[in-house]
Amino acid sequence: MIDLGTSPFTAAVEKLSAGTPIGSILKTAEWSRLPLELRESAFFSSTIVSSKWLEEAQSKILAAVSQTREKVARGTALMDRSVFVAEMRALGAELGLRPTDPSKVDTLQDPLSTRRLRLVFDMQTASATGYGEWKMGNDADMLDAFPAQELVRKEGRKAPRQWLKRWEEAGGKLVNGRMVALKTDAVWTKLSRFGRPWPPFDFQSGMGLIELDRAESEDLGLLTADDIVEPASAPFTQDMQADVSGMSPRFLAGLKAIFGQQVQIANGKAVWTGGTR
């Protein structure tokens, strides 16, 4: 009746499966200029042009999250981050993805450095898990029983960002010094570097969420006993269009070819229209 199982997290698998690999020379800051829905529909990594590499990266991360076993030397094995790092580095070397500038080798700008490959894996798995939890958290019954959440530090950092300041700048209120809000509050999206209401809210932040039950949420004054929290109808309510006037016509044509009718590009603007391709 209340079963505990160890199967994959289906919603996280769905999120990862939905991304289309897109190779591009765009850097992270340039990607952030594209409409949010488009970014969420794409699987990309800063400055990686090779679709082959991206397809393989997506496939391996998907295998890890879906716990798919692959045939290996001595039977079958699960994918994990260390295998991802080793195999994506080997493929990248074959495809010539090492930076030609020696000063960039083994830095985050080197797509084959351990740090960068781990970052790709970590960001994708964290985002997929975060999305899955956001989706389940928006179920009406779930939202009624667990209407709020708290931003907390999950991992230590040598130089942590100023999250309290950032919280207040995003419009969040501190309750007894705690960064708490209803799950449907706009603060979560405003807090995020990526414009999403689920974690991770920034690269390697070490921050995460703890869900709060109804009683604690009421005690903290986030809602009253009679309040019904309406589920969010869609994850994004902003950034449906973006200024793409500085981007190369070739890249924009590529986006159009991949996303078809889902994106309209005209007069220096890319507008996400959704629907089917």
């Binding site: 009746m1 209340i2 079963d3 505990l4 199982g5 160890t6 199967s7 994959p8 997290f9 289906t10 919603a11 996280a12 698998v13 999250v65 716990q67 798919t68 076993r69 290996v72 030397a73 001595r74 079958t76 094995a77 260390s82 295998v83 790092v85 080793a86 083994d106 084959l112 450095s113 351990t114 781990r118 970590d122 798995t125 964290a126 985002s127 898990t129 975060g130 899955g132 939890e133 389940m136 179920d139 019954d141 779930m142 009624d144 029983a145 667990f146 999950k154 991992e155 230590g156 991770p200 070490g206 921050m207 995460g208 703890i210 869900e211 039950d213 109804r214 009683a215 006993a225 009679d226």
Partner: protein, 225 residues
């Protein structure tokens, strides 16, 4: 996709069963509340495991956030609600490594010939030896296999006598012990006790029913026969 749900345990309590038996509507909402509370209790347990004592901590090695972290791979983050219907709910711990902790068993190498056991903080932090990038690191930092007189096999860094740095000019730095298999004992504290889980479920059942009843006229209890 891997196998379907591996059922580990059914935590339903007599109170929950009784409550469900008397309800004709709102059963899913009750089960969702209980599943949410179960997940919350499990997660608190995993956060406590992360903060608690461990062999790694006693050695002074940096954490990898196995139990609780923010990279989408910790046990806590992968403790999620699976399917919830008006008859049942599933809480999923989507972590094969956790399943091994829970049940115990023999771990054997699948991709290579050996399992690599870290012997130093830097090896533990670096993860598997396959993550070491031998193409870009200095030669004295590269891992080479060596065999001890007693027959043990290691991955080590070897100084050539003319180098400065980590190895102090020359010498051997053993990073990993290579083994054919590891016996992992079942961790009796991988999950909260059954008593704790039962308490959590009873409290969530009670809270949910109280909340529901407070929202409807007193002589018309919602969803009861």
């Amino acid at each position: 996709m891997s196998d379907a749900v591996v059922k580990t345990q059914d935590f339903a309590t007599p109170l929950l069963k009784e409550a469900l038996a008397t309800m004709t509507t709102g059963r899913r909402a009750l089960l969702m509340s209980v599943a949410g509370a179960t997940r919350q209790r499990l997660r608190a347990h995993f956060r406590a495991r992360q903060a608690g004592d461990s062999k790694r901590k006693r050695r002074g090695w940096a954490p990898k956030y196995f139990w609780s972290g923010s990279r989408g791979q910790s046990v806590e983050e992968n403790t999620q609600i699976g399917t919830v219907t008006s008859d049942s709910a599933t809480v999923v711990i989507a972590s094969p490594a956790f399943a091994m902790k829970l049940k115990g068993g023999t771990i054997t190498p699948k991709r290579g010939k050996f399992l690599a056991m870290p012997l130093r903080a830097e090896a533990y932090a670096a993860g598997s030896p396959r993550e070491w990038d031998n193409q870009t690191i200095r030669s004295e930092m590269r891992l080479v296999p060596i065999r001890s007189k007693s027959g043990n096999l290691f991955l080590a860094q070897v100084g050539d006598g003319n180098l400065r740095g980590l190895l102090g000019g020359s010498g051997l730095r053993l990073q990993y012990l290579l083994v054919r298999k590891v016996e992992q004992k079942a961790d009796p504290n991988a999950l909260p006790s059954e008593a704790e889980m039962g308490e959590t479920i009873d409290k969530a059942t009670d809270d949910h029913i109280t909340r529901r009843l407070s929202r409807v006229p007193k002589n018309k209890p919602e969803g009861t026969k």
